[in-house]
């Protein structure tokens, strides 16, 4: 990977971090609000189903995670597992794809966009 691509990874990680900072504040507030008295599927789905606002929010959140987490793991693997080759980069692309796919699947499930 060229130094320019590596730099763009750094930029992508910082840019996604800014998005995630906003998302996580909302997420933490929602978690603490929702946990009062225990959580139930009906309560979660009642909040999220058929709401385009939550659909947009969680889609953005998931995609920002899919960008942010693999770039961070790549650095960790390079530094703490000395895995530095193309295999590591490829694994991180796969991990990004997994997060994006599983994450969007979850978003569609809880917002009911598919049902």
């Amino acid at each position: 990977m060229s130094p320019r691509s590596q730099t763009l990874l750094w930029v992508a990680q910082r840019a996604s971090a800014v998005v995630l900072a906003l998302c996580v504040v909302v997420h933490l507030a929602t978690i603490i609000y929702a946990m009062r008295g225990g959580i139930s599927a009906a309560e979660i789905l009642g909040r999220t189903r058929g709401n385009p606002g939550w659909l947009a929010f969680y889609s953005l959140f998931v995609l920002a995670c899919a960008v942010h987490a693999p770039i961070g793991l790549r650095t960790v693997l390079r530094e703490w597992a000395a895995w530095r080759g193309r295999g590591c980069d490829a694994a991180m692309w796969l991990f990004a794809a997994l997060l994006a796919w599983a994450g969007m699947r979850a978003v569609l499930a809880v917002t009911g966009a598919l049902t």
Binding site: V24, L45, V76, R105
Partner: protein, 110 residues
């Protein structure tokens, strides 16, 4: 190890460990919520299964890690993008306080 005992290094370690934990937790989190795709009852069954002390402690830990990673990340962004000043120990302290406050709020909501 003795050379690493200063706030900046501890802030880094918390950020890295929380980042790894959260990255590994994400696929599990998404899989669990994806249960609702098949039926709301499947998600409900999963939530009931996790409604026990061991999972509560785990969830509390994840909330603290998420809050710590958020606050620690804002600390890194502040150091990298704002004009440099001698405030990095204050930033680390504020980040730690935020993570603990979020953990307390979650524990009270449990």
């Amino acid at each position: 190890m003795r050379g690493r005992n200063h706030p900046g290094w501890w802030a880094f370690l918390v950020h890295r460990i929380s980042g790894i934990a959260l990255a590994l937790f994400l696929p599990l989190h998404f899989w669990a919520l994806g249960q609702a795709l098949e039926a709301a009852a499947k998600l409900e069954a999963f939530l009931r299964w996790t409604d026990q002390p061991l999972f509560h402690i785990g969830m509390w830990g994840l909330v603290v890690l998420l809050a710590a990673h958020l606050a620690g990340g804002l600390r890194v962004l502040a150091l990298e993008f704002l004009p440099w000043r001698d405030w990095h120990k204050t930033l680390a302290a504020v980040a730690a306080a935020f993570a603990l406050a979020a953990g307390l709020a979650f524990a009270l909501a449990l």
